[in-house]
């Protein structure tokens, strides 16, 4: 009897292992993902100068009344280059995106946008992670969705793809 219990336990463990590996392979489960603490809570402030115009302070309140995306990126982040074309597509479709240029060089960030296009309505410049930490960001790219009341309603760590958009963000932009 005990022998069968041990054998059963072993097969259960193998099963769980296989399912977890399979979901990781498909990209449905990321063990390193840290769930955001901000879902359903007011979005933190931004309050840093704009990448293009240091006299302009980028603020969360500026976007009040709109459904918008907050996208954290840097030229040092390969996945940010990969998602950029899709951000352009979203921006052209009328989705307002506020960027946060994180731990980057101003000149490099600007030259990337000159080359690839600028999908952002505003870009906060955050060389020392002060805004990133306030938003609980731990990697790039990360994208938050903020509703017209200023609440964070969705978040994605990693590049935005059509599949991610479909699954996590699209429904908030229907009207």
């Amino acid at each position: 009897m005990a022998r069968y219990v041990i054998l059963l336990g072993f097969f259960i463990m193998v099963g769980v292992f296989a399912v977890v590996l399979d979901r990781m392979g498909k990209g449905e489960y990321n063990p390193r993902d840290i769930p955001t603490e901000f879902l359903g809570k007011p979005a933190p402030g931004i309050n840093v100068p704009d990448l293009y115009d240091a006299s302009q302070i980028v603020k969360t309140q500026d976007m009040k009344g709109k459904t918008w995306l907050f996208n954290v990126w840097g030229t040092w982040c390969p996945e940010c280059w990969r998602e950029h074309a899709y951000l352009m597509e979203l921006s052209n479709a009328g989705v307002p995106i506020v960027g946060l240029n994180w731990r980057d060089e101003k000149a490099e960030a600007r030259s990337m946008l000159t080359k690839m296009g600028n999908p952002f309505v505003k870009i906060g410049f955050d060389p020392d992670s002060s805004v990133a930490m306030d938003w609980g960001v731990y990697g790039a790219p990360e994208t938050f969705l903020i509703d017209p009341q200023g609440m964070v309603v969705a978040k994605h760590a990693g590049g935005i793809t059509p599949a991610v958009w479909e699954a996590k963000f699209k429904k908030y932009f229907v009207n």
């Binding site: 009897m1 005990a2 731990r103 002060s130």
Partner: protein, 156 residues
């Protein structure tokens, strides 16, 4: 020959010592107003997790975010924030995961007591298994003795 051995041993000890001190070296140095502040800083960077390299604490990680988080800890201490306030600042942004010793609550219950639960289950299985095999052994002896008794009886 023996000398050679001693030299080898000594040099490997020195080498090991160098590695250890290397690992303990700070990435950056801060000036602390009080020894208490320095102590608080050391406790915090040891207790807070680096979120980039998730199996390291802030003290051991040279990831850029870890550098910035250490600086944030230092700045907040300098502004007079308490250890608890700084831990709370990080937890409200990064969740309990940022603490190497998260508080005991329903979501962290399995983390804290999982090993104990598994230990108890394993102990129960081992205990029942041992008792069973022992009782079958006793039975075996009994039947053997019975046979012996029978054959003795048959002889008479």
């Amino acid at each position: 020959m023996k000398n050679m051995k001693t030299i080898k041993l000594l040099s490997s000890l020195v080498f090991a010592f160098l590695i250890v001190t290397q690992a303990n070296a700070r990435f950056e140095t801060h000036d602390f107003a009080t020894p208490q502040m320095e102590q608080d800083y050391n406790v915090l960077v040891a207790e807070l997790r680096c979120l980039v390299c998730q199996n390291q604490n802030l003290a051991d990680s040279n990831a850029e975010l870890a550098q910035d988080m250490r600086l944030k800890v230092y700045k907040m201490l300098s502004e007079g924030h308490s250890k608890q306030e700084i831990a709370d600042y990080m937890v409200t942004r990064y969740g309990d995961f940022v603490m190497y010793r998260p508080p005991v609550k329903s979501s962290t219950f399995l983390l804290w007591f999982g090993p104990l639960i598994f230990f108890v289950i394993a102990a129960i299985i081992v205990f029942s298994y041992m008792r069973r095999s022992q009782s079958t052994k006793e039975n075996a002896i009994d039947t053997e003795q019975q046979k012996k008794a029978h054959s003795l009886l048959d002889d008479e």
